[in-house]
């Protein structure tokens, strides 16, 4: 068994726990109306963002999608700013103009997220093109879901990235559902990772609920890209524990999930955080005390973030027109 430094494992666990607590803390404010914008929770998929971003430098770039709270936190974005954005406050990472689906922090390489399915894949491609023109040794990760494989721009981007050997990792988080549509109703076969092959792109299928497997696959892919041997396509099999948008699918006010109960239960058993805990404890890599401390810190951070968000002002009505264009003086 591979031995990892304790600090590394602690950090990985902390990243995942921070995401989970942050996501779950939003359930109540969504249900009681304090949070109004559409929120797509990342619970259940934490291993992917945590595992991949563990190999990225601050100067590397990522782009996300509608379900990007986890990507934002894993890349180093502040939970205060994330929470404030979800509450649509002026102190949010997008100053309350974007909401949960538009998260950005250029200072840590989180270059943005957007809910147009596959909409940021070509932007990530462009960031990789920029890195290749500048020869600045950056790597770009494009996070998208299984739904994005239905969009043509993905295939255009795969082709061009392969043609130019761009430093980009295509990270497909396959949670088996494109909004309400199960993957078997979207694709003839559930073998997304094979879409890289016709473009001669190295492609792998990974257990997206095993953070160390994600980490290893991500590290290799990122190293390859950094050496000019990109692009790499990674498909991560995973499952969202919450609804497509909001805490549950809430069809006509029922607060039920549209997915089969047995399917959900089988995936809950594969909870990436519990799996990682079991691994850490049973192999004596971290003890319970350490995990407890991390958990308590994360709880505190989440409480602070909500309080920061709630106590922050909404954007000033007089500033409705601000930021339509970048003005020299205003940033």
């Amino acid at each position: 068994m591979k031995r990892y430094p304790k600090n590394f494992l602690r950090k990985l666990y902390k990243t995942m726990i921070r995401m989970r607590f942050c996501e779950e803390s939003l359930v109540e404010p969504i249900l009681n109306g304090e949070v109004g914008c559409p929120v797509h929770l990342y619970s259940g998929e934490e291993a992917i963002a945590a595992g991949i971003c563990a190999s990225l430098k601050e100067t590397d770039y990522i782009f996300g999608n509608h379900r990007s709270h986890g990507h934002f936190l894993a890349k180093g974005g502040s939970m205060n700013e994330l929470a404030a954005e979800i509450y649509c406050k002026e102190t949010g990472c997008s100053r309350g103009r974007g909401g949960s689906m538009h998260l950005i922090d250029p200072d840590v390489g989180m270059l943005g997220s957007a809910p147009i399915v596959a909409g940021t894949i070509s932007l990530a491609l462009g960031a990789a093109l920029a890195a290749s023109i500048r020869k600045d040794n950056r790597v770009v990760v494009s996070f998208f879901g299984d739904g994005a494989t239905g969009e043509g721009v993905l295939y255009e981007s795969l082709n061009f990235s392969a043609l130019k050997k761009l430093p980009i990792v295509f990270a497909c988080e396959n949670n088996l559902y494109a909004t309400h549509m199960p993957i078997q109703e979207c694709r003839v076969r559930n073998n997304i990772y094979k879409i890289g092959e016709p473009f001669c792109i190295e492609s792998h299928e990974i257990d997206g609920n095993d953070v160390l497997q994600v980490y290893e696959a991500g590290r290799e892919a990122i190293d390859k890209c950094r050496k000019g041997e990109g692009p790499v396509f990674l498909e991560f099999l995973t499952y969202r524990f919450r609804g497509h948008v909001g805490p549950d699918d809430n069809i006509q006010g029922t607060h039920t999930d549209i997915r089969p109960k047995e399917e959900m239960e089988s995936w809950l058993k594969k909870d990436p955080i519990k799996r990682f805990e079991r691994y850490l404890l049973s192999n004596n890599m971290l003890d319970e005390q350490v995990l407890d401390i991390i958990t308590q810190e994360a709880e505190k951070e989440v409480i602070t973030a909500h309080s920061f968000a709630k106590n922050s002002p909404f954007p000033d009505k007089k500033e409705l027109n601000r930021y339509v264009y970048k003005q020299e003086a205003s940033v």
Binding site: A130, I133, S157
Partner: protein, 328 residues
Amino acid sequence: MFTNRKLQYSLAINEALHQMMESDPSVFLIGQGVKSPWYVGNTAQGLLERFGVERVIDTPVSENAMTGAAVGAAISGMKPVVVHPRIDFMLYAFDPIINEAANWCYMNGGKASVPVVIWGIINRGGEQAAQHSQALQALFAHIPGLKVVMPSTPYDAKGLMIAAIKDDNPVVYIDDRWLHTLEGEVPEEVYEVAIGKAVIRREGKDVTMAATSYMVHNAMRAAEELARDGISGEVLDIRTVKPLDKQLLLASVKKTGRLVVADGGWKTCGIAAEILAIVLEEAFGYIKSPVVRVTLPDVPAPASSALEKVYYPDSGSIVQAVKKVLSS
């Protein structure tokens, strides 16, 4: 330095690209056919030889991803120019242009901007029919966050390209291939034509003819003809469709009291409609007679040259419109 140097419109664009790529390593050109005169005429001549394949990127036919790549490169600090040698194909790239580039600065609270030039060439006439002839400026002008420029002279073709490249925001640069061989004075030095500023091409007192792009030249010919009948027409070259120079437009209309708008796009919800709306909202009291639009009819471009002749308005259409305005 030659003071009165003449240059073709297309070579004025070419000179802007050369100068900007030379002075700023973050500028690059990407698009289908950038190494082929078949696509971009001589607008890109010499660039590949001078700046290499890394900065002059001829691409597969993938307008959506290539435009998105230009937008993404701009978000990551570059200053790309992405060219669509036929603007019709730019429709494949609506998502990166509208959903992403136009909204990016606003929806990210000003934390990022998109300094990209999206360059689309209008290719009308020659029996090319509906999908090779469209003038789509109004579609882009509708979108908050975009700027849209339409140079009518070689001088502006260069100055607006430089201004567009230097701008921190996404600029849609639309030129008409019918203008490419037009010669005019173009200084050799680097200069900008301010985005958002119209210009009076000919002063007059009886009627304002506000025009865009190629229609400016039709308006100039119309003004000549009208002058022979003793009518003094003022020609206003809109130059930037968005943001539109309201100040100069309103000043001209307040002076003449009459307005004809000539735009090479369609009539319904077009640039001409927008210009009339501005005048009605802000200068209603100065208008002495009904206003008239000279545009394409609301019809796709036909192939047959017999139909093209009636489809595209010319200087005669503007003369007629002016006479109608003056007689009512």
